[in-house]
Structure formats: C-alpha cells, structure tokens
Symmetry: C2
C-alpha cells in the first residue's frame, strides 16, 4: 500500500473538489490527474483515506469530499504558499500607496483583500495598546474641561474629554502638555502609565488635582479595553456559490456582525509570520462551523499591532488565500510602522 500515492489522491480530491464543488469519484480522478493507476486502485486508496477520516461520502453512492481533517492535512503537508507574482505585488503596493490617512489605508486594505481572495475579508484597526505614542495633545474646551487627544504612531487618534474639579490655566496646561510629551513620546502605549505616574509631582499643590485628573484620563485612554474596530468587506462573495444556500450563509453573516467574536478569532494567530489557518469545526464559533479562516498579524519586526483575515467556505483555495493574506499583511505592516 503506497503511502505517497494515497497523499497524492487526497491532494487531487481536495483540488478537484475546490474547483468543481462536487463530490469527486474515482473515475473522474484518474481522468483528470495522471495518476498511473486504475480507478479500482484509487477506490482502494479512497476507502483507506475514509477509514482514517480524511474524506467522506455525502451518501453511499456518491463521490468523496474532504473532511475538515482532510483539509488540515492538505494545508499542513501538501500546500506550498507560493509568493505572489511581481505584477501582483506591484498592484497591491500601488493601490495601498494611494491612501493618505489611516481610515483610508484600512479601508483599501480590506477591499483589496476581498477582491484578491474573492472571499469575505476582515481587517482590524491597529490596536492602540500595541502601538506607540507619537504625540499627546491637551485642548482646553472650557477652563474645567480638557480634551485629551492621543496620536499613535500608526496614525490612529483616540480622544476623550475630562472634567476638572478646579479650573486650569492655559499656561499650566502648556506645561503639562510639555511634561507629558517629554515623558511618553515614542514609548509603547503599554509603558505609558509607568512613565507618567510621576508627572503630577512636578506641579504645585494648587494645580495638582487637575493634573492628576488629566494623567488618569490619559492612562484610561491608552489602556482602552475595546481592542478596537474591525472592518469587513466582500460579504457579497458569500453568495457567489449558488450551492447549499441560506443554511450556510445566514450564520456566517450573523457571526460577521459580532465584532467582539471576530476580534477574538483574529487574535488567535500563530506567532510565526506565516498565515494561520483554522478549518471548519477547528474554529470554536459554532456559526462558522462550515467556514475556514485564514488569518495573520501585521506590524513591523515581530511586533504585531493588528490582525487581518479572510473567511470563506472550507472548500476554499487555501494556497491562494494564504498568499494574499500574507502579502497584504506585509504591506499593511510596512505602512503602519516606519516614517
């Protein structure tokens, strides 16, 4: 019993099924792939693969389709993530370069990813706690009301308003601004609290309460629990395949509305810089039991500041999607980190 050929058969089944969306039989297999054996031999291999749980039959007299476990083996052992071609890469580059503020970068990325993969694409905004501080601005709206604005290195802006018990003068506010920026500029957000905890000590007792309020508000802002926004594109791609309709589309659409769930899913990526694949039921969200997720972090030099993914049916072109996800993640990371 030939191990290599068995794997080749599995690979052929996955490829054909992804291409045709129909259960693939032994006859069709030998025709289309030049396995130099007869259909009966393939049938024996198939029976073995089925025993091991890599493929299954929808009903007794039908061809085989890969199981989640089959796809898993395919992804782990039978897939080379081929790089995109140079023109493709150039196209991505050009498209993203056209954007000039953060919203637009994210928006273009997600649309691009949806278009490249013909699946649903998800991009998370760069997470605040994991990026660094470019500048902190304090704006006096009233003598007792200050707006704290944090500008992150990624271009993301976060703002919140704080009420003071005692009024603060413009001059004092300017000193506070200077002191804070000296302390935090360039730091990672997570290190900000430690860095500013002593800022208030530099000020006299009359100003101290106000300064403390401001510092506290800044700490809250950078801690920011809501890990952030996600943007989705390509929902219409879910309907491209006429197949087994509402049954499968409805729950996926519902899951996509739950941004909290998505963020959790997006967070579960390998540390490696290769895309992570989660197939069907591997995915612990019930509504996505018939879907696969190809996700990756993005950021610079090992620092992940956000994640992105595509979601599609388990019968997707894994190699192509992994390549697209990886490429977009790289360019996106590059745009967020330097300058």
């Amino acid at each position: 019993m030939n191990q290599d050929r068995r794997l080749a058969v599995l690979r052929a089944i996955v490829e054909d099924y992804v291409a045709t969306h129909e259960p693939v039989g032994s006859r069709a297999l030998v025709d289309r792939h030049h396995l130099n054996v007869s259909s009966a031999t393939v049938r024996n291999d198939m029976a073995a693969l089925e025993d091991e749980g890599f493929i299954a039959q929808p009903h007794t007299s039908a061809g085989r389709i890969p199981t989640d476990k089959g796809y898993r083996l395919f992804v782990d052992r039978l897939t080379e993530v081929r790089a995109l071609s140079t023109p493709e890469r150039r196209a991505i580059q050009n498209f993203l370069d056209g954007a000039f503020d953060l919203d637009e970068v994210v928006d273009r990325s997600v649309r691009l990813l949806a278009q490249l993969t013909k699946q649903v694409a998800i991009v998370q905004y760069p997470s605040l706690p994991r990026s660094s501080v470019r500048h902190v601005e304090l704006v006096a709206l009233l003598p007792t009301r200050v707006m704290v604005v944090v500008i992150a290195s990624t271009g993301r802006i976060e703002q919140r308003t704080v009420e003071l018990i005692v009024p603060i003068s413009e001059d004092t506010l300017a000193s506070v601004r200077r002191a804070i920026n000296n302390a935090v500029q360039g730091l990672r957000m997570v290190d900000v609290p430690d860095a500013i905890v002593d800022v208030a000590k530099e000020f006299g007792p009359s100003d101290r309460p106000a300064v403390l309020s401001i510092v506290a508000s800044l700490m809250e802002t950078v801690a920011e629990q809501r890990e952030g926004r996600v943007v989705i594109s390509g929902a219409a791609n879910l309907t491209r395949v006429p197949s087994d309709f509402p049954m499968t589309v409805q729950p996926v659409l519902e899951a996509l509305e739950e941004h909290v769930v998505l963020l959790r899913l997006l967070g579960e990526v390998d540390a490696s810089d290769e895309p992570t694949v989660r197939i069907g039921s591997e995915n612990d969200v019930e509504q996505l039991a018939t879907a696969s997720i190809v996700s990756s972090g993005y950021g610079g030099e090992g620092q992940t500041i956000g994640n992105l993914a595509v979601v599609g049916p388990t019968r997707m072109d894994y190699a192509a999607n992994m390549a697209s996800v990886r490429a977009v993640a790289r360019y996106l990371g590059r745009m967020m980190t330097p300058q």
Copy 2:
C-alpha cells in the same frame, strides 16, 4: 363601484402580503378583514386594481401581490407613521446614552436601527462640511512637518499632515494656533476658508510661507470631498426570509459594498423631517430594484448633518420602519448638536 372599498382592499392586500409573504386571494381577504362584502365583490375590485396597475398576479390562478405602484399608493395614502411607544423611546434613549464617543454613537445607532426594523440599517457619519468647528490643533511632528487636527462639534476628528518648506518654531506655531482658533471656533466648516484666508497676514515674512501652507492644509481638510463614511449593520437580516433566494440577496449585498452609491442614495431625502421612502424600481440603482429604502436626515433644527436609512425587501412593514427611522434620526440628531 365603491372607491373607498377599493382602497381598503388594497390596504388589506398589502398588509396580508407583508405578513404572510404569500399571494393573497379574495377568499382569505374577506375572512381575515371584516369587509362586509362577498369574495366575488372583492374579486371585482381586484380586477379593477389590477387594471390600474396597483396589484398583479404571479400566475393566472394565484392570488394577488402589490406592485411597486401599489406600495406607493399605500405609503402615500394609507399609512399613518405612528409614534413609538414611550417604553420603546426610553429604550432607544438609554441605549444611545451609553455611548461616549462618536464612533460608538454611530455604531450603536446602526445596530439599534437594524434590530428595531429587522432590516439592513445604514448610518452615515456626520458630514464634516455641514458641521461646525470645536477646535483646531497644530502639532509639530518635526520642525518641518505639522499635523493639522480639526475637532468638529459632532466629535468627529479629521487630521492631515503637511510638509513645510521652511521650519517653524514652537512659539510661532502657538501663535498660529491661537490666531486660527480665534478666527474659526464655532463657525460652520463651510465658512472656515473665508475666515482664515487672512491669518497669514498677521505674520512676518519669514514665517509667512509656513503659515500659508498650514492654512491651505486646513482649508483642504474642511472642504473634504469624500462625503464620509457609512456604517452598515444587519446584513444577516437579508437572509431571514427563505424566499426567492440568491437572486435577490446577492445584488443587494453588492450594492451595500458600494459606499459611494449608498451615499448618493442617502443624500436623496426630502427636506421635510418625515422619512423618505423609495420603493423598488423608483430607486435608480438597478441592484436594488427589489428593495425599498426608508431614509431620513438627522441633525438639529432643520440643519441636516447626516443621513440614515434602512434597506429591505419591497414587502416590508413600511409604517413600522418609518417610525423607527424617524425615532433614531431624532435621537441621533439630538446627540450630535447641543453641548
């Protein structure tokens, strides 16, 4: 031939069809509504209504369904937009009050609207040109690079970076900041260019080029062509009705991805503060030919600063959706304008 009864029959047909999603016949009609006539009479009325194009038969031996023209008459003459109940209004209020920054207000609004109507909801971010200035901040990132940040009264923040040919000192920048804020604070965005065109004259010849660059950048920022972002929620609601599937869902999902198109649609609202309804083919976007849109502007006292809408099948509950759209628009407008 009794005009009033004919309208009553149309109303009954619309109501039943919206409730059941099935063609409604003369028999069922007299049973469910207490029209005090026989089914034969109703049949005669139906024949007349069909001649006039208000209803149609899917096939010869089926009941009738309303045409777009029928829905139009229904909306114009037979619908009272009843106000929401006090508990409903209170629930909306509470839900929206929980939000504390602009993103969250918009996000909650769109989710709320989707939930209330069980349709797809769309909310446009408050348009910058139509709101007013709370504060302008200038941040020196480098001596020759300044970030211009505009904070609108709605809480929306817009930012862009400008490169200077000559460096600018922190002190000068502070003067510019003061001069600009004196000139523009509280103004409507559209009036900003006129107000700041002369700011540069206050500065000496060595600083003037830099100031001019900053002013120009500010002008660009407030002019901001891209009328803004839209947020969508409730796409999963499109799949609630198992009916005539992919045919009708696919194009709608596609249309929803085209934010530019949506913005155009959203823009076409009546000046009145009642919701605008566009039914099926009235809508000039081909992909939405089987959909109806209930839209409304929001803002304070006649000032529209943004729009919102729900999109659903032509067979929707117009009265309920109009009520929800109106209510959410009011609360949203109220949250954006005062303070």
